[in-house]
Amino acid sequence: MTSDHHTEEPGLSHDGTVPITCLGCGCTCDDVVLTLAGDAVASFTPACPAAAAWIGDGRLPAATHVRGTSTSREAALDAAAALLHEADGQVLVVLAPGLPTATYGEAVAIADALRAAVETPHSAMSAEWLLAGQRRGRVIATLGELRHRADLFVYWGVDPAEQWPRFAERFAERSTGLHTVERSVIGVHIGTDAAPRGAGIQITMAPDDELAAIGAMRAALRGAAAPVAPRLQGAVDLVQRMAAAQYIAIITAADGGDPARSTARTEALLALAQQLNGPTSRCAITVLRAGANVAGIESLLTWQTGFPFAVDFASGAPAYAPERRGSRGRYAAALVVGDLQALPTAVRDAAVRVPHVVIGPRASVHAPDAVASIDTGVAGLHEAGTAYRMDDVPLPVDAVLPHPHPSGGLLAELRARLHRAGVSP
């Protein structure tokens, strides 16, 4: 993949402000405006804690290290290529958040050539949702559709306020919809997974009851007359409210929730959302995803290999190994492309427990033990290309601040070195 659709320069206005697309959370807001002071960010609007954490002052380190010692970019790439080549096919390539989609395309090409395994944040963040969706399908919508259609928002064990601060104002109950006049909000609290406290209706259920509750809701939708246990009656009442709505948005989270949630629970919720589509109501489920361009990682991997995560090229073609995700196999080396620190712990640990190369933001800081590390910028501040919103909508991102190491170029150079070493392509 190339980035040939994104060759225009970003527009820096005469007053030193520049619009950007923020990758601070999966909302991927493109209405953020930076005020620059030289090569740094002086301020930005609108206020958003996720954006503030993402943008900072816009400055990122630009070091290149080999085994902790500062060196040239070329020497770091040589060391990286040597490690990966000598690993003789026992390589783990990890796609980490924060970079343009095209860079991940280069990384997957390297994985293909090395017959490597590919790990992504999804192994730890959203695997159950992806797998359940593959078994059953899913009814979803782009976020603007929720804004314009939904008259009922049901937050299922998630309060977006902290991780997705602008979700409600841009896409949900606090946004201005085209077709909806009145909206209702229901918060479903499941154990420690809290829903918005401001929801008009609050429902609480124990985690152990969740699957039974969804089952009771589905049975009620089918018109089952059998009585339900008293502790599940609230869920039955809830589904009757939902079925009376015209367009229901079920909002839940792929990450940040209870890790013990089962595959069965995930699939049941997808099935409930499907079932709520009937003669009088429509329903879409949104699984909130955090992480800069993690949706782009999944999308690219799907179109290039046919699989959304947990891909292994060991056989010479993509194979799917979701059951071994996170800690599969023994590797002789790892290549991390993206922000190492933004990876889920299990995925990060799988990479750093073996000799590794890190090419990504703050690599020199977060990977002190790396055989080679090269700092890059991040997409939308220092690197141009495409980044995907959590609902798979691709947005252009521009480079508005300087950084000496564009990630796409580094990966292309690494690929060329591997090629010269006899690794195709």
Partner: protein, 546 residues
């Protein structure tokens, strides 16, 4: 400067009136030329059949919808791994997976392996156009483009409601350029918008959307007029209302009649040619529909043939996928796409033992066999909806060999075939020249691609060379050689190189006076900024109308 003389082959170039003439074909710098120096390199095609590279007018290969489909098919991909090809220079391509919705690199390699060099993706939501360009970037060997969905577009319907045809036209022109699209696609006009509301669907072309004046008739009329006024190379590409519903022939004929005298393309017609309904069993209405097409030279169609075997239903027509999910219980993905469109995906299997599938198979063949003008009735399976593009050789065999057709018919479930022209013993067998028309020359002409689908001087040197073979399916499965822009990319079943193809897109002129209203529409309703909507930096220049 690259040169190649292909010698001794029987050339089938119907656009230039050449039907099996044995002569040399000269290529220089990616184009067909009249002659070459005598010492130019040669490729011996003696005894072989030469055609232009295949042109697929309607396929689903590079879109966010395809990616939703891929996510549903891990079992297909696991069962069909494709190792990276080793090219002639020793370099290695990219691996991938196949099935009914292959990964991108595999899609390009496999199309090329069949002798196809141009492919159009038939349905891309404008908001997701950027994604399609990325997928095409990773789909080598073919020139590609897509049609952008406009039949349920909020801004457009507002112009129709307001009686603003000029604004609708200028918006169409702007949207085509902004998305880097090649043509306008209309899917279930108004019906996808209805699917998102309590109305659920639209069943008659004069049924208005709730709270609007827009009807399918009004949408079709406005879009056809706009596209024709803008001289877009390909007329609007119409997926009629009521796809796949028994009795939908009435809607199909009414939609055609609504556009009498106006250029338009009706796609996957097979799915729109059913009698029955309202208590009556399904039946074939192919004769009635193809008779109308035969009589209306301003209208073109692709067939959307059903082939027995696995398929994946991928369409913007959300409500029809919902009905299929309800009736089949299969896995189902639905995506509502803001202000524009939708998407539905269901993996499927056409079995010859199933009555409806057998009827669909027969209806498609009837359309082909009763067509009086192959230039206007061209080949498609609506890949992967009616079957994979990999099944094209078998479809060609069905058209060229009555005995193969009859053998399949004999084992089909014939419960719904009463009245089918196929049962009446249609004896027509397509000739090689007619195959060249429905797979190359015809689609290129319908698309307005003046440099493709023929082998005249100045044409793109996209060429396919076949060995003659009594087994037609085998002949069309494995070309001896495939040339893309003058380079041999496939030889004896092996990929030699996998060049990146060109992007086929248009950029019609529009009155910039429409843009303030479009900008305001974005400011009021879109979730991305106007400035971030248009794709940037397409390297290939736009196609200019003939």
């Amino acid at each position: 400067m690259s040169m190649l003389r292909i010698t001794g082959g029987a050339i089938h170039d119907p656009a230039n009136g050449v039907d099996g003439e044995i002569r040399d074909l000269c290529i220089r710098d990616g184009r067909i030329v009249a002659e070459l120096p005598s010492d130019a390199p040669t490729f011996n095609a003696a005894g072989r059949v030469i055609m232009p590279g295949g042109v697929d007018i309607h396929s689903h290969v590079a879109s966010a919808s395809c990616n939703h489909g891929r996510r549903l098919l891990p079992h297909e991909h696991a069962a069909d791994p494709m190792p990276a090809p080793v090219f002639a220079d020793g370099s290695v391509g990219r691996s991938g997976t196949g099935g009914t919705l292959p990964s991108t690199f595999t899609t390009g390699y496999r199309y090329a392996g069949l002798g196809y060099t141009t492919v159009m993706d038939a349905a891309v939501a404008p908001l997701l156009a950027r994604h399609s360009h990325h997928e095409f970037d990773d789909t080598p060997c073919i020139d590609g483009g897509f049609y952008t969905l406009m039949g349920n577009d909020e801004f457009l319907m507002r112009q129709i409601d307001a009686g603003e045809p000029a604004k609708a036209r200028d918006y169409m022109a702007w949207l085509l350029g902004a998305t880097g699209a090649y043509a306008v696609k209309v899917v279930n006009p108004g019906g996808i918008e209805a699917w998102k509301t309590g109305q659920r669907n639209i069943h008659d072309i004069d049924e208005a959307l709730q709270g609007r004046k827009s009807t399918p008739r009004a949408i079709l009329s406005a879009l056809a007029d706009a596209a024709n006024a803008l001289r877009i190379p390909h007329g609007i590409h119409i997926h009629c209302n009521n796809l796949g519903i028994p009795g939908n022939v009435a809607t199909t004929l009414a939609s055609m009649e609504a556009l009498d005298g106006r250029r338009a393309h009706f796609t996957h017609l097979q799915f729109h040619c059913y009698g029955g309904g309202e208590g009556k069993p399904w039946s074939s209405a192919a004769r009635e529909v193809i008779a109308r097409i035969n009589a209306h030279p301003e209208h073109t169609v692709d067939v959307g043939q059903v082939m027995f075997g696995p398929a994946t239903l991928v369409t913007a027509d959300g409500p029809v996928e919902y009905l299929l999910w309800k009736s089949s219980g299969r896995k189902w993905t639905n995506v509502d796409i803001e202000l524009e469109s939708g998407c539905g995906v269901i993996p499927y299997m056409y079995r010859d033992t199933a009555a409806v599938a057998a009827l669909q198979w027969a209806v498609g063949l009837e359309l082909f066999l009763l067509s009086e003008d192959p230039w206007r009735v061209v080949l498609s399976t609506d890949h992967p909806n009616g079957g994979s593009f990999a099944s094209y050789p078998k479809l060609i065999q069905l058209l060229m060999d009555k005995s193969v057709r009859d053998a399949q018919l004999a084992v089909c479930n014939q419960k719904l075939l009463a009245g089918s022209a196929l049962l009446d013993g249609l004896s027509r067998e397509y000739t090689l020249n007619e195959i060249a028309i429905i797979t190359r020359a015809g689609p290129a002409r319908v698309l307005g691609l003046t440099h493709k689908g023929h082998l005249g001087v100045g044409a793109d040197a996209d060429v396919t060379i076949y060995d003659r073979n009594a087994d037609i399916a085998a002949m069309f499965t494995s070309p001896v050689a495939v040339l893309k822009a003058g380079e041999i990319i496939v030889e004896e079943g092996h990929l030699r190189i996998a060049p990146r193809g060109a992007r086929l897109h248009v950029r019609p002129n529009h009155d910039a006076a429409v843009l303030p209203a479009v900008r305001q529409h974005f400011a009021d309703y879109a979730t991305i900024r106007f400035e971030n909507f248009a794709v940037r930096g397409l390297k290939t220049p736009p196609v200019v109308p003939p």
